[in-house]
Structures are given as C-alpha cells and as structure tokens.
C-alpha cells in the first residue's frame, strides 16, 4: 500500500508507507532490492573543458567538468609534492523541490571535500607537483544519491581529460529502507522512518574503499549485507563507465567511412557515444509506468 501526501513532499520528507519485506517490488517499480536505477553516461559533452561527462541515474542528472592539471592558484594552495584536487559540488537552484539557495552551504562544502579525497586516491597526483586539477560537478536534477552520481561522473570526466589514474572510481548508495536492505536508495526510500543511507565508492580493481559515509542506525549484520550489495553495485557501475569511455572511440571507428567521404566538405564526424547498461534499460522500461502513476496522483491532489 503506497500513500502519497504530495503537499508535504520534499520539505519534510515524504510520508510514504511501505514494507519491502512483504512487497515484491520497490516504490519506483524496481523488482529487486539489489537493482540499480537506470543509468547512462556520456563523455566529452563540454567542449571547452579538458574532460567532461554527463550522467543520468534515475532522476539524478549531473554534469562534471575537469580542467587541468594547471598551475594551482592562489599560490599558497600549491603542494610541491603533488597535485591538489579542487572539487566544487554545487546544486542548481531548480534541482530540488524547494528552491536551493545558490550560495554553497555546509553540505556543499562537505561533499566537495569528500569527493576530492576519494578522487585523490585514484589519480597519480604525485606526478604533477604544484598543480591543481579542478573538478566542477553540477547537479541539475536530484533524487537521492547525488553525491555518488557526481563521483561516478567526475571519475569519467577525469579519464576523459587524459589524467593518469590508478583506476576509475565507481560509487553507489546502499543501505536500508522499509525493513529491508536495499541498493541505490531513491528519495522516497531515503525518507523512510527506518532509513539508513550509506554512500559508498570503491576502486573496482583493487577493491579499495575511497568513500564511506552513513546516516542512520543499523545492525552489524545488516551493515555487512549492505556493503556486500554496494560493492557489487559499484562493479556494475564500473562496467557502464568503461563502456561510456570506450564508446567515444569505438563508435567513431564505425563512422570512419562516412567521415572520409565528408572531408571535402566540413571534415568532421563527431560521435561522442552514449551508453546504457543493458540491465538499466530493462529497468527503465519497468519504471516508466510507475513514474506516470506518480505524476497522475500529484495532479489529482
């Protein structure tokens, strides 16, 4: 049984009631407790940046742009032993139901800091003394899990900028909602009375954990289960990241013949590839009817 009180959504958290241990599916129509929301990544979307990525993950929409390595300014921020990674996490004013004040708040600063620390573990920062790598992540639409979405996009943008890295950074939310351990919580699940939200990021090759935060109360056993689920989710996300980066070049390869013919005119065939996870596509199809239902209910009220 799902009840929506639309007026109170957003500001005070939704008053949605459900019990996942009895229900067979999740609020947004996902079948499994360990299923990710549909995700797609496109790299090279911002021509003036050294590297960039656009990510859609469920309702989350995120842009990431990378500049550098370049001279770190102000000069006192330089480190002669390594590059400093400066992340700016910002949310657009229209990215949340209630208008967000554009001035960066406590949460923005905190997330910028933890994202920078996570990325620093992946990048060969010691190769670029006295420089900075600027990462700008802008959330244009959000529905819980925006920090992990930003981290996933930022990591793709870094790779697109050609910055030497040990590994990609793959991130997902995991935790507990409505009496069940779930992967990739959406906003309704995050607002459940018993919700526990665990943003998690790993370096998939080595399994090193580079981001781990938690909000809520959870038992040891439940935590272990959530982590296991989260790490598996991160590895799925890693595959989407890899495919997105490779697609930019492999799709261009397919377009070679037409490009050769075009060179007499304007000689370009740009094909920044967009990739979707096969699993995600299926999930998207499943979740579409659910979305419509939600909207219809809003209108009625």
């Amino acid at each position: 049984m799902i009840l929506l009180k639309v007026n109170e959504m957003g500001k005070h958290g939704s008053n949605v009631e459900a019990d996942y241990s009895k229900d067979k599916k999740r609020m947004d129509g996902r079948k499994g407790m360990d299923e990710l929301r549909p995700m797609s990544i496109k790299v090279g979307v911002i021509p003036n940046a050294d590297g960039s990525a656009y990510l859609e993950w469920g309702q989350n929409k995120v842009y990431a742009a990378v500049y550098g390595p370049r001279e770190a300014l102000p000069k006192h921020s330089q480190n002669p032993y390594k590059a400093v990674i400066k992340v700016a996490y910002r949310m657009a004013t229209f990215s949340v139901p209630e208008r967000k004040q554009p001035r960066p708040n406590r949460r923005d600063y905190e997330i910028s800091k933890v994202l920078g620390e996570a990325l620093e573990r992946a990048v060969f920062v010691e190769n670029f003394p006295n420089t900075e790598i600027s990462v700008f992540v802008e959330v244009v639409d959000s529905n819980a899990g925006s920090r992990v979405a930003c981290l996933t996009a930022a990591s793709c943008a870094l790779a697109d900028a050609g910055i030497p890295m040990r590994d990609m950074v793959a991130a997902t939310g995991t935790g507990k909602a409505f009496n069940e351990i779930v992967l990739d919580l959406n906003k309704d699940e995050e607002d459940a009375s018993d919700a526990v939200d665990i943003p998690l990021a790993i370096l998939p090759r080595s399994g090193e954990i580079v981001l781990l935060q938690m909000d809520g109360v959870i038992t040891k056993e439940e935590f272990a289960k959530a982590m296991q689920m989260g790490i598996k989710g991160c590895k799925d996300i890693y595959e989407v990241q890899k495919a997105a980066l490779k697609a930019k070049y492999e799709l261009e390869e397919l377009a070679l013949n037409s490009a050769e013919k075009e060179i007499k005119g304007d000689a370009t065939a740009q094909g920044a590839g967009e990739v979707k996870a096969p699993k995600a596509e299926k999930a998207e199809a499943d979740s579409k009817p659910a979305k419509k239902e939600g909207k219809a209910k809003k209108v009625k009220k």
Binding site: D50, G51, G68, P69, R70, E71, P80, A122, F124, N127, F128, P129, N130, T131, A159, D160, A161, G162, I163, P164, M165, R166, D167, M168, L203, P204, R205, S206, Q241, K242, L245, K246, Y249, E250, E252, E253, L256, A259, E260, I263, K264, D266, A267, T268, A269, Q270
Partner: protein, 249 residues
Amino acid sequence: MSKKVVVPGDLVSAERKRLGSNVFVADGKVYAKVLGISDDEGEVASVVALEGKYNPQPQDTVIGVVGRVVFAGYGINLNSYTESFMPKSAFREELKMGDIIVATISYVNELKEADLEYAKKLYGGDIIEVTPVRTPRLIGKNGSMLDLIRRGTGCEIIIGKNGRVWARNGNLPLLKKVVKFIEENSYKSNLTNTIESFFGEVPSVPGAKGKKGTDTPSEESEVLGGESEEINLTQEKQESEEYDTTEGE
C-alpha cells in the same frame, strides 16, 4: 591482447614486461594509466594516450607565445603546467606580448618547469591548436604526413609538440581542415593514405613543391603505432623513469 581501447586501471599485460609509456605495475601485472590504445605485443607493454595535456620533455620542439614581459625577459606560455622564462638576450630584438616563438626544450626539472634554447621569433602566420598527445600523427613516420601536408597545402609549417601548429602562406583554410581531420581521427590506421587520396582530388596549389605521390612512404603501421623516429627516441628516454612508477600495493 594486441591493440585495443583501454581506460585507466584496465589490464594491459598479465605478465611482467618492460614498461612503456602510460602504464604502471600492481601485483606483478601491467595496467593502463590513461585512456588510450594499449599495445602489449613484443617486449614492451605500453599505452598510447588519446587525451591529455602537454608534458614537457627535453629536445621537444615547441611553439610558445609571449605571455608576460618584464625587465629581464619574457614569460613564455608553452601550453604546459607552468610558463617558461627566457632572458631578453636570447633574442635579437625586443618582443612584445602575443609574439610567437619557436624553441627547443633543453632541460625539464622535477617541477616540470622547462628551460628553452635556440629560440627564434616567428613572423606572421597562424597557430592551430591541437590535442598535444596527437601531434605525432601530424608528423607521421619519418615525417611522411608532414611532408604530405606541406606539399598539399603549400604552407610553411612548424609543428610544436606542445599541441600548436604554426603555419604561414599557402592554403591556410585547407590546412586547418586537414589538421582538424587528422586530430579527430588520430587513433585510426592508414591516415597517411587517406590524406594522400584527399589531396589527390584537390587542384594543385600554387607554391606547392613537387607533385602528389612522389616518394611518399605509402605504408604506415597500424593505429598510432607509426610515430616519428623522434618520438620513439623520447619514449625510450621515458622508460627509465617509468620503471620507478611501480606501485606497491
């Protein structure tokens, strides 16, 4: 494994090999550092980068822009991490901001600051910016691509390893088109032949020396493998450094 597109952290070679460019070792295996095309045939495992900034190396020919004029000399923008400095005595005349110079890198220190030598002012001409890691493709094997472009467009061309192509006279719009095409298709094989056939269809440009197709090496080795001799030399120099980047995990 042979040649394929890799992302950072992808396996290049499961066995320990000599380390080429853009790879590192973890747990006795060789992994890619950057987005690029891997090559583990032969004794060396390496990755040719597809994106990235200019990393100054000694002996590189670079094209600089005067970005700052002080009493003692000039700050030269090399499209690198830091600007380089040249004293006024290095030039026959006074330079002003925005002047273009060509120089050779004599020394790069541990902070990647480059010292320049043999500097020369360039008069007139245009600069075309390209992705620095793709400039080897503009030169081609033994300079074959560069020869071809020079003949086809009739331009005087200097290619800076820092991702700047300086050109003067000749058919500049055509040159820009060709350079852009090569840059965007830098990871594909057989580019020299593609460009050759392209020039073949264009009426000969006044001032272009020689005719199309004379003594051009028609074969170019596969995707990004065929780089100029110069590049191979610098790569070998890098290798000694690359051994140190072994990761202890």
